[in-house]
Amino acid sequence: MVLGIDDPWIWGAYVGCILVTLLCVVYGILNWNKGGEDEEEQVKEELNWHKKEKDMEEKELGLWDEHDA
């Protein structure tokens, strides 16, 4: 009996949800400053992509995405 639940398949899910969330939290903390080493280049790529997408939306599709921020 864990948390008022008998079936290990169910409290397993209950506890598993919490554990997997902890995994996300720990991963996030450990890697908080990683992945930004070549940020200059990454940001340039992203900027380029964003411009192209904006062009597509405005010129090709006429979607109303005028204030994407």
Partner: protein, 534 residues
Amino acid sequence: MNDLLILSIVVVIYLALTGYVGYVAWRRTKTADDYMVAGRETHPFIMALSYGATFISTAAIVGFGGTAGIYGMGLLWLTFLNILVGIFIAFVFFGKRTRKMGHNLGALTFPEFLSKRFDSRFIQYFSGIVIFLGMTLYASVVLIGMARFAETTLSINYNIALIALAVIVALYVIFGGIRGVMYTDALQGSIMFVGMFILLVAIYWILGGVGEANQALTNLVNSVPAEATAKAAATGFTGWTSMPSLGSPFWWTLVSTLVLGVGIGVLSQPQLAVRFMTVKSNRELNRAVLVGGIFILLMTGTAFIVGALSNVYFFDTIGKLSLQVVEGNADKIIPAFITSAMPLWFAYLFMITLLSAAMSTLSAQIHTQGTALGRDIYETLTKKTGGASVYVARLGIAIAMIIAVIMGFILPPNIIAVGTSMWFSITAAAFLSMYAFALFWKGCTKAGAISGLVIGTLVSLFWLVFEYAKSAEALGIVKALTGNAMLISSAPWPTVDPIVISLPIAFVVTVVVSLMTKKPSKEHLEACFQGVGK
């Protein structure tokens, strides 16, 4: 009527607030360059909340929450997969590669990404068609989720609620920018966070604590009259805190349709995959894992726990199970619980929570549908850009929205969770094998990818039309052709979700065909994989 007036005022205030946040963000960052500079200082919360708000719709909260009233806490396996697959694996393994490869290829939509990776225009328009058609169903169940809440909690006529909400969403989309501005998405995510957090604390508070409430739910199966659960028990139901009998129809629906369909299908959701290309750096993805995990736990975890525990609440107070209270329509369980157990102010707050959930999801859906029709289908087939494409995209969005509303009128009760699962399982069958191999296997060929896409889609559709009971019976095609409700009526097949059949077939076909056909050129692979996996 008084309720309606208060609701209108609350909704107007909410829309004004959303509009204001969007406007301030727009004033601050007028050009794409400003956007990037501002973006570099963006809080990681923004990316995660924005992704989470798009991921979690009213379908997840109202539809799957209500379904938990029937299936119980076994549905928490879906929360487990939502976090492990939908956040951790999606961000850490799929997200980073998608981002880099998408940029290498200059792809702007999910079908375009796949098409450029495998050098096939067919992939682009075929995927565009699957997305455009399938998403109409998903948009429809998201609308139904909101309308059912307005109907049950605030006593607004369902049909009026459906139309009014569709109009609000359409206005938001037209005047607020078609795709949720990242800041408005984050605002909506924050509102969802607060609404669901209050609900989680409240239900355990009302029922006397976590252990006590769960224990009461465990004991409930023995205290209710046997006839109340007889029908479910005949198909494998054993209680709300125990797994159904292994291999029973109840078990198959829970495990294959509700848990696996949505739990795995999330990886190849086009509107989510494209988001990875709008992330500024891998660092932002790393940080977003933290916020995203907590957000999803609180969203779907709360919805499923509340759905399951609502049985205890209703049995204690009026001696009925949740499904009896709502006369068999599980889509109304969460709204009914909020009406009975929570103060009126919370019902309004929850309406805003649902509006937020629906708008952030629908605006991303509508954007994806527009690009699927304009860029992926029309431009790819005609080889023309601009011009008529503008009208095709706009008209397509309008038509899709109208069809979604019409479907909201005609779809049967208990449809939200099943409709969502169908969409997730079709996209998984069609795209997941091709998408995973695009990112991780250089040996996957154009012919392999196309075979997996086409066969996965066809097997999935075949199963939905001819074998899967919920859809085959509703469509009636197999009945007209053969006189039987489905092709094989012996258990478990009518309750086995299409994803269980179609996804493995699609994977095998993709691998086998790839091994037999010509490998992509080295130059092409180098261009795709440059800097990927670092």
